[in-house]
């Protein structure tokens, strides 16, 4: 049943002379190996998740009760802003790039990423940028406090850290663009002979499309913040009405980036789920082709919906209608994905190891977030909900229960391949259930707060909102503790190689070339492309 006819390359191969992994710090700092770079990305992302998470906990601690207990309002805004920026650009995006680095070459039978040195450059660019972002708290006037959306003209009032932040985002953007070009080229040019695009694993498909989104919108963000920079320092008037500019123009340009950006954070997650659900249902993915088309449609639609973030800016009614309709349309291809996953499970022979639990949890909770998104997309009700905690609830359902849960699913699914050891099933399940429950305790009450009109980015709030805020804060600390547990009792043991040894293919029904190489995956794989069985269709996930 194996898709690979010729195994000569995966195991012992001919020239061993220069194939030993370099040793010591040089291995990591000078890395050109996609697996090592993938690991670096994942570790960086996890560290940023911790930092962003601690900021979130400071926010939640402040909001535990009405009144200011811990921070002053200015610092509160800094926390909110940096939490958003660090989570989006530091944690979620790099984590998916880490997955891409590890898995894409393995899944398509390539020896490495197309441009190995540029790959490392993409990673190392993130370090100065991350440092600048985190260090901005210690600059005069503190970190930027204009929200992660960096709306003008509030950004014009920020201190010097705003400029540091802008330059950091430029660098991160450059890193993303190089990383995406690398991924596109790898996928288009380095698939093993016989692996047509329509036989490619879903994860690769979703990343291919994501990479296109990235190269299309990161430059636009760069443009927007460059205009902010020149407005701040060089006398331009892009966003200054006194000189003929328009603050709302910033929002249009930002959200032209920002909306595709949120799909950048969810499409690879869809890819991971599309690998896991078939593996644990012991079936092939239902409706592979329609999954590809759905992903493509989501990506294309994502370019024409941006102003649903701006319903209250006061655009003409025709504009509101257009953006309302186009946004609602996205429910259709997203629905196709959900239905395909469920059809894959239907009449399967399911088991519920940890990756599958996360995947099912993802489908369930992400859909809640999708529905609240749909409710927000209705312009007349968004007028009530815009900039309230309802929005905060919506996007944490899709970002935490969506992106982050899928990342956890992927770590459990591919972790054995990365490290060569199995995680403890009990711990994995404990992590899952604990996170699922505390996640909902944290973010579900925020829907009510939003409906009742509690605005977001508030350091203090009326008394009537006190109880739900207290519940959310308790939940947040619980959720945080679950991630500490994950780090100490799942990640650390796996990195140390403690645990049962993983077989080459720990999951009975998993499909794909990554399972044709030993666990842990050797330093070099597929130096000569594997020969695929032309009749095998099961290569695809």
């Amino acid at each position: 049943m194996s898709a690979v006819l010729d195994h000569h390359d995966a195991h012992g191969h001919d020239h061993h002379d220069d194939h030993h992994a370099p040793k010591g710090w040089r291995r990591w700092v000078f890395a050109t190996n996609h697996k090592d770079i993938g690991t670096l990305y994942l570790l960086f992302a996890f560290a940023m998740l911790m930092i962003g998470g601690v900021l979130a906990l400071l926010i939640r601690a402040e909001l535990f009760q009405p009144g200011l207990q811990l921070v002053n309002p200015q610092l509160f805004n800094q926390l909110t802003t940096m939490h958003g920026l660090i989570m989006v650009f530091g944690a979620i995006m790099p984590a998916f790039v880490g997955f891409a680095n590890w898995m894409i070459p393995l899944q398509i039978g390539a020896s490495d990423m197309a441009f190995a040195r540029m790959n490392n450059f993409s990673f190392w660019l993130m370090i100065p940028a991350g440092l600048m972002l985190v260090a901005s708290f210690f600059m005069p006037g503190g970190a930027p406090a204009a929200g992660w959306t960096l709306y003008a003209p509030l950004t014009l009032q920020m201190g010097p850290s705003m400029d540091a932040g802008i330059f950091a985002m430029h660098i991160l953007g450059a890193s993303s663009i190089m990383g995406s070009i690398n991924i596109i080229v790898t996928i288009l040019n380095m698939r093993a002979p016989g692996m047509t695009l329509m036989k490619m694993p879903m994860f690769c498909w979703t990343w291919l499309i994501t990479a296109y989104l990235l190269i299309a919108v990161m430059p636009v963000l760069a443009g927007a913040i460059t205009m902010t920079l020149t407005d701040r320092h060089f006398g331009t008037s892009f966003f200054n009405p006194a000189g003929g500019g328009d603050p709302v123009m910033y929002q249009h340009i930002f959200w032209f980036f920002g909306h595709p950006e949120v799909y950048i954070m969810i499409l690879p997650a869809f890819g991971i789920i599309s690998q896991i659900v078939p593996a644990f249902s012991r079936k092939k993915l239902f409706g592979y082709a329609s999954m590809v088309y759905a992903t493509g449609s989501i990506a294309i639609l994502s370019f024409v919906v941006w102003a649903h973030h701006m319903f209250t800016t006061g655009m003409p009614v025709t504009g509101q209608l257009f953006f309302m309709y186009s946004t609602m349309l996205i429910a259709v291809p997203t629905g196709v994905k959900i239905f395909n996953w469920i059809a894959t499970m239907w009449k399967g022979s399911m088991t519920f190891e940890t990756p599958m639990l996360w995947a099912v949890g993802f489908i369930f909770v992400f859909t809640v977030g999708g529905f609240t998104g749909l409710i927000l997309s209705m312009a007349p009700i968004d007028i009530q909900m815009q900039d309230t905690y309802y929005v905060v609830a919506h996007f944490h359902y899709v970002l935490v229960a969506g992106s982050l849960f899928a990342l956890f699913a992927g770590v459990y699914y591919w972790g054995p391949k990365w490290t060569g050891v199995m995680y403890s099933e009990f711990r994995g399940k404990f992590h899952f259930w604990g996170s699922l429950i505390t996640f909902n305790i944290t973010f579900f009450p925020m829907h009510f707060l939003g409906l009742a009109g509690m605005p977001r980015r508030y350091a203090d709030y009326p008394m009537q909102f006190a109880d739900f805020n207290a519940i959310a804060s308790v939940g947040a600390f619980g959720f945080g503790l679950m991630q500490v547990y994950f780090f100490l009792f799942v990640v650390v043991p796996m990195m140390r190689g403690q645990g049962e040894k993983a077989s080459q293919k720990p999951w009975e029904a998993a499909e794909g070339l990554e399972w044709e190489v030993p666990s842990p995956a050797p330093f070099h794989t597929f130096e000569n492309p594997p020969k695929l069985d032309a009749t095998a269709t099961k290569v695809i996930g």
Partner: protein
Amino acid sequence: MKQAAEPVRQGALALKAAAGSLVASAGAWVSTAAYAVNDLPGGPAVNQLNFHPPVTKIAEEQHWLHWFMMIICAVIFVIVFGVMFYSIVKHRKSVGHKAQELPEPIWVELGWTIVPLLIVIGMALPATKVLVAQKDTTNSDVTIKATGMQWKWGYDYIKGEGEGIALVSTLDATHRELSNNPTGAKPDDYLLKVDHPMVVPVGKKIRIITTANDVIHAWMVPAFGVKQDAIPGFVRDTWFRAEKTGDFYGQCAELCGKEHAYMPIHVKVVTAEEYTAWVEGKKKEMAAAVDDPSKVWTLADLVKRGESVYAANCVACHQANGKGAGSIKPIDGAAVVLDADKSKLISVLLNGQNNGAMPAWKQLNDTELAAVMTFAKNNWSNKTEQLIQPAEVQAARK
């Protein structure tokens, strides 16, 4: 639409009651028993689960739309996850189910593309109707310009009964103080009480024109179903027709800097007669209060006047002790305040400083500015005995 709404609402009420009791018991253990708090009529209710009780047609329609969406989504949710959990229970390996590949007929895929498409279209239709009504700001009875400022709202009645009235609405200073007190008991209208509410007549179409002086703010009153960004340099508009008298509250809904959480909106809806009386009174009051910028003040009087201006405008950032906090510069002992060249200080107040971190205060009148500067020059350890007369400020304006 109204007919359809009734059963929907019935169901909604039952749902709400169930959810309410669940939440109440869950909330009991972390409840804020320390503060006995009550619902605020026209503002949020304790542990409120849905939109505010609607006071305008539009808000009512929004309510309806929300329930409409909730119910459709709930039905889809139950069906989709009913299928999923059925499968999870029945088609698992541990109950001995063997995997069966399914055929993939095209109609399945088409079906679950087309049906959601139809559902979405069905959702869009009523939404379109409400949206169009919401945007129609023509034929208003009273037009009020709401100007967002860091961090207060200015209201100028520019058309209709009350034309010419102008007022500035700021959070009650004691509430801002309370906020700094981490544990103190807090009133029901905590953070929602203002010094001068906006007053409008019941049953009249009120058009609100929003704009801003510094950064973007947003004017929102949930009970009216209204939220409109206030954008510097541009005007936008929205409208409401309140069907009940009473006090209605909202808050600034666009991040506008440090005191974003402290610029509430309070609209007092009164009967036509009360409104007329209010307009009369306000006009008289304004006529009396008009400051004559050519009046020459004594130091003591001006400092006294300045103290109240300081309390209303400056204390939030610079603190009562004039020492500032964090990145906010102190006034106490500041060179520009002590400087004998008054024009420097005047320019700071008129034009702002540090990219607007210190905002421009030109919306205050000459007397107020002169008073607050004189106060700053002669308070705390600043004992300059210098006096800035309103006329000097007037001359410094462009």
